[in-house]
């Protein structure tokens, strides 16, 4: 708590019950600026639940959340304005094309028709980088799971957010895709951002500050 000025997200003594079951027992997480928090744990250890609780998508029974030192309930709007959350469900609608999906998911990246052309170019460039540039106008239902994942991951570069909360970002990605994600995380941290993610395949980082949190199944 000494350097509370550089703390982005902080969770203290989080406890979550689901009915009779204790899912998360007294977990505290601190996410300083320019850092990576890697949450590990076996299946059912509550990784996803913890992430959802951090972004306000799951109710917390005990404990408190802080965003930049302020109680979350007071600064929720500021928090959401700085947050990029990629959940277990990628948020990709089958009936829309990757481009339309990204436009719907990031309403702030294009505000009017005059920049529409520029935005499209930009989205195309990012999707090309991800190897799915030729799918930009295909319905997303025609994409494989990994490709849909890539569309969602395109938001990492399309959206401006200080804090990334990623649930299993490497799921259904090939080696090249995993490398791309790692590179994005490194770039993000280098520019002062923070990343919280869950994973079964730990990513090796070189010189970034990595905090590893291992969740155990509460007894």
């Amino acid at each position: 708590m000494s350097s509370s000025a550089t703390l982005m997200l902080e969770a203290q003594g989080i406890q979550i019950w689901r009915g009779e079951h204790l899912i998360i027992d007294d977990v505290s997480v601190s996410v300083p600026a320019s850092s990576i928090v890697q949450i590990q744990g076996s299946n059912g250890s509550g990784k996803t639940t913890l992430l959802r609780a951090l972004v306000g998508l799951a109710e917390i029974d005990e404990g408190q959340l802080f965003w930049q030192g302020e109680p979350m309930t007071r600064v929720r709007d500021e928090f959401y304005a700085s947050l990029l959350y990629l959940g277990h469900k990628p948020g990709i609608t089958a009936g829309l094309t990757p481009y339309e999906n990204l436009m719907a998911l990031c309403p702030e990246i294009v505000a009017n028709q005059t920049v529409e052309k520029e935005t499209r170019k930009w989205v195309l460039a990012v999707l090309t980088q991800l190897g799915i540039g030729d799918r930009i106008d295909l319905p997303s239902v025609a994409l494989s799971a990994g490709q849909q994942r890539r569309v969602a991951l395109a938001r990492l570069t399309l959206q401006q957010a200080t804090l990334w909360v990623l649930d299993e970002p490497l799921t259904s990605l090939d080696a090249e895709g995993q490398r791309w994600v790692k590179q994005q995380i490194q770039q993000h941290v280098a520019t002062g951002g923070s990343v919280v993610f869950t994973t079964h395949q730990p990513i090796e980082f070189d010189d970034e500050t990595v905090i590893t949190l291992s969740l155990a199944q509460p007894s």
């Binding site: 469900k89 702030e108 520029e118 170019k121 930009w122």
Partner: protein
């Protein structure tokens, strides 16, 4: 419009120019409420156009149910004319119920609702766009087709205008009221039955005022009182329901895992 420096990124697939990035970055959360609402309206309209069943199902249901009545009851013009307002209105109500499930179910399953909540934009505003799109694709076709079915039901010609106006106001209310139920039952598997149980009682006033407006005009009376009440219900539900829907979506999303 495209300058040379912008060509690079597209051709090579590299990251786009810094100007483009800076330009777009400055716009985070600049989207106005109207723009946000319109964006979701267009999105849902686009989705509805692409899946024919979504807008065709309620319409077909409406046509089939209404056209079964002359067959079942007999084509006597006097009998049909008496029951016409009620039959048209009940069928429209049930057709609307049929389409409610689809407002949020897909968005819940693919994670769009989650993203709406964590986007930090007001959920109630986005929801207005979605509900209006639902009304345009499910309610409006019924309204437009109703005079034709009125003809089949031997509805007196004086009542056509009232039928259209009352259905216009009524289906709009039904979309908004029904969306509350759809949002509340979104996290429940097979919530369809519960949805009908929840929503049908709330729609009874709409049905009563709607069908009695048409009946009144058909029997030569004034219907402005009924229509005013319908308009009041539509205004109330369109202005207050989004708040309830947004709350219900937050609860539904928190209940998922």
């Amino acid at each position: 419009m495209t300058s040379k420096k912008k060509e690079g990124p597209v051709n090579t697939g590299e990251f786009p120019s810094k100007q483009t990035v800076e330009f777009a970055r400055g716009q985070r959360h600049d989207a106005s409420a109207g723009h946000l609402c319109l964006r979701f309206f267009q999105r849902d309209l686009r989705l509805a156009v692409r899946s024919t069943g979504q807008w065709l199902n309620p319409l077909l249901f409406f046509v089939i149910v209404v056209s079964l009545f002359p067959l079942g009851i007999g084509p006597g013009p006097a009998t049909l004319a008496t029951i016409a307002p009620g039959v048209l209105w009940v069928s429209a109500l049930l057709a609307m119920m049929l389409s409610l499930d689809s407002i949020f179910a897909h968005d819940y399953r693919d994670g769009t609702l989650e993203q709406m909540v964590v986007s930090g934009n007001p959920v109630s505003v986005m929801v207005i766009g979605k509900v209006m799109a639902h009304w345009v694709t499910s309610g409006l076709p019924l309204v437009l087709l109703s005079p034709l079915l009125g003809l089949m039901m031997q509805l007196p010609s004086a009542a056509y205008l009232t039928l259209v106006v009352s259905l216009l106001l009524g289906t709009l209310s039904l979309s908004f009221i029904g969306a509350i139920g759809a949002a509340l039952t979104v996290s429940i598997n097979q919530g369809g039955v519960l949805l009908s149980l929840l929503v049908l009682p709330l729609t009874v006033p709409v049905l009563i005022f709607g069908s009695s407006a048409v009946s009144a005009v058909a029997s030569g009376l004034e219907a402005s009182a009924h229509l005013s009440l319908l308009a009041a219900i539509a205004t109330l539900s369109a202005s207050l329901a989004p708040i309830a829907i947004a709350g219900a979506i937050r609860i539904g999303v928190a209940a998922s895992r």
